[in-house]
């Protein structure tokens, strides 16, 4: 049974604030006003309609003189985009997909490869899931990160084959009821042989050189394979499409979307309904997102404030709520570092599984760092000047939240206190 639509006919201020906190990191009172009174479908349509053009910044990863600098500039460029884009849902989806089809800059230290990977995530964020998975498998960043560029006929490397099933598509399954076997991993690895890339390999000299995808027929094992219960002379693309078509894939994708947009607590009934919507649309991510953002589950009162902000969502949300004040490039790089210290470095999750999120964002050190960051953004001597007032509605999601504690503070102190409250750290 697919997701139940929300009974809300037109968005109240608080409905609009809720929608924007979750889809846009954060929003100003004016931006909230602009969606108030619209139908949920209109609002979702507006958020999901975006071009692929990026904001102008002075970040140019190709101008770097070392691989380390190139990586930092790619991260800064992305942070800039999240802060200033008029299409924040595109970036929020990109952030989510970077935490699904994970690559990491601990290994991938080539600027064009990382930029191409981010371009793919943006372009396919509202496309068809199986096409998305195939493109990711062909991109040099992923080919290098999970060693499929080393996977050749008669010389298997299982890394990508395993994570394709375990993390990108079906998931491992329940103990005692696995979704695939070790044999599927090894046969999948055979099928995935032959995809590699040329150029950009030397970290010291070629970090700004563009690597190019190549299918090398002589390195491909074209023998018969049995994979996920089917037998044939599967190509790499066949393997990825078979994995994407695994009956457990919709639930896995739905679980990711749920954790990103609905709640940090898994909900088997809710994700099953979302999986049905995904399945019925043939894996169309735009249709699935439209259904999700107009669903009862998304708007129902008990799910509001049930999502933990990640570190990046914490800093970007604060600055977007402040009306996207002008920052220089150095400050933006500082925000990349602050997020990293709080546990989320862009393009560098701790493992290929990515960040689990939810309560895992919260510990003594990350709470302290959030408080320090909030102080720097509001009270510090270099704090950016907000171009929009921070209000309980825009920051906390409710016009009447925390009235008494906020009463006797000045504007900067009010902003600080709201940003360190549990209400802002949730959305």
């Amino acid at each position: 049974m697919p997701l139940t639509p929300t009974p809300i006919r037109t968005l109240s201020q608080e409905d609009a604030a809720h929608l924007l906190r979750r889809t846009s990191f954060g929003a100003t009172p004016t931006e909230i006003q602009a969606l108030t009174g619209r139908t949920p479908a209109e609002a979702a349509e507006r958020l999901l309609t975006f071009p692929q053009t990026l904001e102008q910044s002075r970040f140019d990863p190709l101008s770097a003189v070392t691989a380390g600098a190139a990586v930092k500039l790619v991260q800064g460029q992305w942070m800039w985009e999240m802060l200033y884009t008029p299409h924040p849902l595109r970036e929020r989806l990109t952030l989510m997909w970077s935490n699904h089809f994970v690559v990491g800059v601990d290994k991938v230290r080539n600027a064009p490869a990382l930029q191409e990977y981010l371009r793919l995530l943006r372009a396919h964020a509202t496309g068809t899931f199986s096409d998305f998975a195939v493109e990711v498998a062909r991109t040099p960043a992923m080919l290098h990160y999970l060693d499929n560029d080393q996977n050749r006929k008669g010389k298997p490397n299982e890394n990508f084959s395993r994570e394709l099933l375990e993390l990108f598509t079906a998931g491992i399954g329940m103990p005692g009821q696995p979704n695939y076997t070790e044999k599927d991993v090894t046969e999948g690895a055979r099928g995935l042989t032959g995809w590699t890339f040329q150029g950009g390999r030397n970290v010291k000299t070629a970090f700004a050189e563009t690597p190019v995808f190549m299918a090398v027929p002589r390195n491909h094992d074209d023998g018969r394979k049995t994979y996920l219960g089917k037998t044939g002379t599967f190509t790499p693309e066949d393997i990825v499409r078979l994995a994407a078509a695994h009956p457990a894939t919709p639930a896995r994708v739905a679980g990711k979307l749920w954790a990103t947009f609905v709640s940090s607590t898994p909900d088997p009934a809710g994700t099953a309904a979302l999986a049905d919507t995904f399945q019925a649309s043939g894996g169309d991510l735009r249709v699935t997102m439209q259904a999700l953002l107009t669903s009862d589950a998304f708007y129902v009162a008990r799910q509001r404030g049930s999502l933990f902000r990640s570190p990046v969502e914490y800093v970007v949300g604060a600055l977007r709520a402040m009306g996207r004040p002008a920052l220089d490039e150095k400050t933006v790089l500082g925000l990349v570092s602050s997020s990293a210290r709080m546990g989320q470095e862009l393009l560098h999750p701790p493992t290929v599984k990515g960040w689990d999120g939810g309560r895992e964002w919260i510990n003594d050190s990350s709470l302290l760092l959030r408080m320090q960051t909030a102080a720097a953004l509001t009270l510090g001597k270099n704090a950016p000047a907000p171009t929009a007032p921070l209000t309980p509605l825009s920051v906390l999601g409710r016009a009447d939240a925390l009235q008494a504690p906020l009463a006797r503070l000045n504007d900067k102190q009010r902003a600080y206190l709201m940003l360190i409250s549990p209400e802002y750290q949730l959305m």
């Binding site: 395993r162 008990r302 309560r359 050190s365 760092l369 503070l409 549990p422 949730l426």
Partner: protein, 395 residues
Amino acid sequence: MSDLDLNRRDFLKISAVAAYTISGMPGFLARAAAQASGGKTLVVVQLTGGNDGLNTLVPYSNGAYYAARPNIAIPKSDVLTLNRDLGMHPALKPLMGLWDAGQLAWMENVGYPNPNRSHFASMAIWHTADPSQASSEGWIGRISEQIGDPFCASNIGTSTPLALVAQQYALPTIDSVDNFQLKLPAGVQDAFDAMLGTPRDGEAAYLQQATRAMLKHTATVQANIGRYRAGTTYPDSKFAGQMKDIARLIASGTGQRVLYTSLGSFDTHAGQRADQDRLLTELAEGLKAFYADLEAQGLADNVVVMGFSEFGRRVAENDSAGTDHGEGSVMFALGRGVKGGVHGDSPDLEHLNQGDVIYRQDFRGVYAEALNGWLNLDARRILGGDFRGPGWLAS
């Protein structure tokens, strides 16, 4: 009423008392309290990503090892000889002094039933000590519930591993001891107290509680930490910095029974030698400095280090000069409380399970000895069964 309910009730009783007595206790008293309860600290080092056990503790007399690894085997001439058949990876040279002093133990063939080759499933099994993967609580989280104190264990790093997850408590993660302090800006103290005092439910209540716990933990650490003076120079690596912070916490008597940290990534599918060599160097240099520091502080009798990884790697190398995910592997332990030597038999490299060494020692037996013999806790309650280890602690 089930056993579980009884335990819960006991936990609640104990935790109420512990919370009362521990909060606000001056440093020297907290230290005395820790010593009364044994004064022993267990340091757990997680090697993330699946460390290759065969290139760590090398079976250098075994032809099958060299046959399976023509490119990445450690040449016999490079091995640090421990006995007739085994030697350490050359990068572990900084640990040779500990070995010679009988303070370094290796546990062979450690694993668990129905091995899982997923990093994440396998790591979760080591963290929860539950191969059925039914538990959502970590084994160290359960220690905190048995003791009744969320501050009895801490992680040094940026995010809390599942091993330290408890149902009742949020166990601390300390990114860096120096930054582990709260400085509230002027003029907001009253509003902050009022904000934190606002009644909440759901995840907001969780955050509220986590913030209150953080206030208490930072106060405890900062009240004590000034006592520490490093007894040695630590190398300039992230791991060594983490070990130094662990030494600082122990030496300043903040009272944790378990301290946890991680090093990675050991996921060496391609070009294994370069990556694993670098990581094992970092590991050995960090551990050597840590131990020297403890010696200088006069605390070497009170600390044992135990290291593990979620699995070892396939016996045969792959064609990218790396190794794919395997099953059984080695664990290590060091300290004066350890019975130095190799515990257990080396794996039979000619009889494998799908290309992997077959485990003989359940890792829960190794944990059980640390719990019963070192921390003086009831391992049965924490691990949910009786597990036997190889006798790696000195008696």
